[in-house]
Amino acid sequence: MKVALFIPCYIDAIYPEAGIATYELLERFGLEVAYPLNQTCCGQPMANEGDQENSAAAERLFVENFSGYEYIIGPAGSCVKHVRHHLDAIPQTAAVTEVRTRTYELVEFLHDILQVEAFPWAYFRYKASLHNSCSAIRGLHIAQPSEHMAPYYNKSESLLKMVEGLELVPLDRPDECCGFGGTFCVTDEAVSARMGLDKVHDYERQRAEYVISPDMSCLMHQQGIARKAGIDMKFIHIAQVLNGGPF
């Protein structure tokens, strides 16, 4: 199976280890992983502003880069959600809709498509909290949202439970938004920071040593908050835990 790896811009520059872990993890499952070199951004930051005009170019390029692959896998829920649900600043040709439906977030790809049952190479002997992003929960159905009355499921948690040594600690407010929200984190700095601090304090109350997430963008914000507040806590991408590194 030949798949294409979609590495969002901030992972590329700030969290390359999350990208590397994703790449290696997919190879471990015998996939042929391509990384289209002309990729930039899916257009989400502009589209979330409502700025269709400026997101169109990025969206066009995204489709160009990722056409023709069986699956396109991105280790980032919010970017994948954009591609799947909101990549509509350009005409919806067959090629565009094809790319949109073939794009998967890493956890859902591992859980739903590969139906992984074990990560024998992974061990992680820490107490950790899981942060599923809102985009992944309500946009990609990676977990049952707490406010929706249906049977519980949580795909990230199911995968992490296969990792030896890992102790997942539940939160007081399990799927409360952390306040990142893309541009929101700077345009609405005060509210965003307060939400982030409340989130980090929740982890602290559970005595979590690590915070694990399929979305590094939320963690970039949370990590910045924790560092500024002098809270000693580590933030890593779920791919690093499932792949056994790099840390």
Binding site: E49, Q52, E147, T187, D188, K228
Partner: protein, 469 residues
């Protein structure tokens, strides 16, 4: 035009920065309401089915609204109510004024009505010498403090008991140091009693209006709407055209949803059904449009008319809980406010759709399944297309768009960590002067080697395309 734009982010920052009490307590109390709502919803096995049914009943009614409005009117008249039609706030207020002045009424007592709030009715009547008293405790607190309600069902939830003790001390002479809610409530009860007995008319809104019988339903916990309707000789009800439901049996669905969604209670203490004037009284019904028919014609936004004003979206909204409702500077606050307020004034409320992380929880709690979160994003598109965005924001995204459009520009800028700051998190840092990222957060550390560089060094094989340079 730009001057009167509501700076919701700035207002929210002031709410947070005022002290260490208001925002945390506000957040805690509303989160508690959300948790109670979850427990109440979980106890109803058919909860999600009920949401779907309620949503469809509302959509059915709204897509046949002319029919149901005429049916409601005919049945209400048949039962002895006098029915008026108001195209906008001015006509609504004029009807009220004419009813009151024809009967020489100079004092009214009113219960909570978001529509009357929308119409600015209290100020209108006060300017004409009519004394208006809010009878809902929370609304009364807000009235005495010269503020609009900050929440649809908990109007003074942004205030602490100490704030309220201070307001009551000035207004009705209570002990400013006694913050006991029981004491404060008792004092206001005694004050309101006199006003109920003096009032020449009682005014209410309506939660639902039933076409098949001409009945309207008012839900309260205090019983204040019922006193207003049963004690003064005249009852005036303001009803928005979107409140219609076809049948009495629909209430079985909606009453089960309303209070469970709002406060996590099984129902409000009083669910009152008015079908015509009470014995010895008059009933006036003002059917009001005020922008609703126009909203019905907006393909992307007409579903917002399904709203039953429960406030569940506000309680669950993590942004609203940290902002306080007054930050929105509008009649409606929170997620539902974000999608309703721009229909009244796009320019004034152009920043509201950005006061959201698009987390989506509002859409999931909504008892009538309004796609609130999606509509927030759609409003952003409207604001961007109509150039309501501040120039700084537009330029930043114009620049980012250009860079993301051109791989060479992107990768050239990104490779060196110092230059990467200019592009990758551009959308995080564009407002350089204030550096809002850094006030409460450390900057992320840039990696020595990007993923792309790692890939080119270790993984690229011959079959991959060469990077364009």
């Amino acid at each position: 035009m730009a001057k009167q734009r509501v700076d919701v982010a700035g207002n929210a920052a002031s709410f947070i920065d005022q002290d260490d009490i208001h925002e945390p307590v506000h957040d805690k109390n509303l989160w508690a309401a959300r948790m109670k709502r979850d427990a109440a919803a979980r106890a109803v096995p058919e909860w999600e089915d009920l949401r779907t049914i309620a949503s469809l009943i509302k959509e059915h009614t709204l897509t046949h609204l002319d029919h149901y409005l005429e049916m409601f009117e005919a049945n209400a008249i048949k039962r002895g109510a006098k029915v008026y039609w108001a195209r906008d706030a001015a006509e609504h207020n004029q009807h009220v004024w004419e009813i009151l002045s024809a009967r020489n009424i100079d004092a009214i007592i009113k219960s909570k009505s978001m529509l009357q709030e929308e119409c600015g009715m209290t100020a209108f009547l006060e300017n004409r010498g009519i004394s208006v008293t809010e009878s809902d405790l929370g609304e009364r607190i807000q009235q005495l403090d010269n503020q609009p309600p900050s929440h649809i069902v908990m109007p003074a939830i942004h205030k602490t008991p100490a704030d309220i003790a201070g307001i009551f001390a000035k207004a009705i002479g209570t002990d400013p140091n006694n913050t006991d809610p029981h004491y404060l409530n008792e004092a206001m009860r005694a004050d309101a009693r006199k006003r109920f007995l003096k009032a020449g008319a009682g005014m209410t809104g309506a939660n639902f209006a039933i076409a098949e019988t001409g009945t309207f339903v008012v839900c309260t916990n205090e019983g204040n709407a019922d006193i207003g309707a049963s004690v003064p000789p005249v009852h005036i009800a303001s009803i928005g055209i979107e409140k219609l439901l076809p049948k009495v049996s629909d209430l079985g669905v909606f009453i089960r949803l309303l209070s469970r969604s709002a406060l996590g209670t099984l129902a409000t203490q009083y669910t009152s059904h008015f079908s015509g004037p009470r014995k010895g009284g008059e009933l006036h019904i003002i059917i009001t449009d005020n922008g609703r028919s126009k909203r019905l014609g907006l393909d992307d936004f007409w579903h917002s008319l399904k709203c039953i004003r429960c406030g569940a979206c506000m309680n669950t909204c993590p942004v609203y809980r940290r902002s306080g409702g007054l930050a929105y500077g509008a009649t409606y606050s929170g997620p539902i406010g974000i999608i309703l307020d721009p229909t009244f004034d796009e320019s004034k409320y152009s920043e509201l759709p950005y006061h959201s992380t698009l987390c989506g929880s509002c859409s999931e709690v909504c008892p009538v399944k309004i796609d609130i979160s999606d509509q927030i994003l759609k409003w952003r598109k409207v604001m961007a297309a109509k150039k309501y965005l501040p120039i700084s924001r537009r330029l930043a995204f114009g620049a980012a768009g250009k860079v993301f459009e051109h791989p060479t520009l992107f990768h050239g800028a990104e490779t060196a960590a110092s230059a990467a700051m200019k592009v990758t998190p551009h959308f995080l840092l564009y407002n350089r002067g204030l550096n809002p990222w850094g006030r409460h957060r450390e900057l992320p550390h840039f990696a020595k080697q990007t993923f792309r560089e790692w890939y080119l060094q270790y993984k690229q094989t011959d079959k991959d395309q060469e990077p364009q340079q």
